[in-house]
């Protein structure tokens, strides 16, 4: 994982907690090595290597994740597309350069979950150069799985934080704070003001944030971020950040990613999904649902 990850566990019996933590970390590493497109022997890399060639059999866990990717593609009306990763080649956020003329047009035919041949057991990417990646929900899935492992080890008070994708498993367990929810700070999408954007008191569930500030560059006063619309290949930057609180991290992450892609319709869509969210619009206005009772 490229971003810092931490597990916070509280409770009695240090030896048991350490065993739980070790097992949870092992589970995160297992998922990373199995699904990371950066590792050549991962399932995803092997599927991508076979693009344009043979169909591959996949195991039950991969099948579930592929079904999940399909359902997100439907729920988002095509905006969330696990094959849109190839568009990254057109955008060099490090060099702060717009795509070459014709570059996006040449990549767009390789994008489209509609083309993927997935029958529930065998998967095939029909064109060479097509790429699948689980980046839109992989880290969040790992956070939930890690929490599940901790739960199996009897841990009742923990916070899993994989680079900002958070799963809270029960309230605090340390003396002095027992029973109190964890304080989860939401980062400000723009520098300049110190302190978090908001602090949420969470006892259980998942929190994930999508923002236009993770990878971006600004050119001629316009911001270009890494949230790319799979239909056009261009960034959608109507929101500075969207944070979602859900019963698990995978849902929180998927909802926040799709919301960013929905642009102006983000908050209506999130509310229709029954989600609780906190969002900063491009102009800096902070919105949240449901509204806070009384003061902050």
């Amino acid at each position: 994982m490229a971003s810092p990850c931490e597990l916070l566990l509280e409770g009695k019996g240090e030896a048991a907690l350490r065993r739980g933590a070790a097992a949870a970390i092992a589970e995160v590493r297992r998922i990373e090595s199995k699904f990371s497109r950066y590792l050549p022997h991962s399932v995803v890399s092997r599927i991508n290597a076979a693009a344009g060639g043979q169909a591959l059999d996949v195991d039950a866990e991969t099948a579930s994740l592929l079904d999940f990717a399909a359902s997100l593609w439907e729920s988002s009306e095509g905006l969330f597309d696990a094959t849109s990763g190839v568009l990254r080649r057109a955008w060099d956020f490090g060099a702060r350069r717009l795509p070459q003329p014709g570059q996006i047009e040449s990549l767009l035919p390789l994008v489209g979950w509609r083309q993927v041949e997935w029958n529930g057991t065998r998967i095939r990417l029909p064109q060479p150069g097509m790429q699948l990646d689980f980046g839109g929900f992989g880290k969040e899935y790992a956070a939930d799985r890690a929490a599940g492992v901790l739960l199996e080890h009897g841990v009742a008070h923990a916070l899993v934080n994989l680079g900002g994708d958070i799963h809270v498993l029960g309230p605090h367990g340390a003396p002095g704070l027992a029973g109190q929810p964890w304080q989860v700070a939401i980062e400000r999408p723009r520098p300049g003001v110190s302190g978090p954007l908001a602090t949420l008191a969470i006892e259980r569930g998942g929190v994930a944030t999508s923002g236009d500030y993770e990878r971006f560059f600004e050119l001629d006063g316009k911001r270009y971020c890494h949230i790319l619309d799979p239909r056009t290949g261009w960034p959608v930057c109507e929101w500075q950040s969207i944070s979602v609180v859900a019963a698990n991290t995978t849902a929180a992450g998927a909802l926040s990613t799709i919301a960013m892609l929905k642009g102006a319709q983000a908050v209506d869509w999130l509310t229709a999904q029954g989600a609780s969210w906190l969002a900063v619009r491009a102009d800096g206005e902070l919105l949240r649902h449901p509204p806070l009772a009384g003061g902050q």
Binding site: P181, E203, R204, G205, V245, S276, P290, A293
Partner: protein
């Protein structure tokens, strides 16, 4: 009968309040405080309930089957 009507009206008014009963998991910090529980000090409740049951005609209401009192 009047009583049932009163409770029903109160219930309907409360339910109509914006956001009634829709407390999100991250808003439950205050509700988790010990002072917000209904059964905070069981021995205190037992002692005072026994005193009142022996001096007043009314008894019960919060739990079932607490056993009788010899004070008829």
């Amino acid at each position: 009968m009047k009583l049932i009507l009163l409770i029903a009206t109160a219930g309907a008014l409360l339910a109509g309040c914006a956001g009634f009963g829709q407390v999100e998991p991250w808003e439950k910090g205050n509700l988790a405080k010990p002072s917000m529980r209904f059964d905070a000090d069981p021995l205190d409740a037992r002692f005072t309930q026994h005193v009142y049951t022996s001096k007043e005609a009314a008894s019960g209401g919060a739990a079932v089957g607490g056993g009788g009192c010899g004070c008829n």
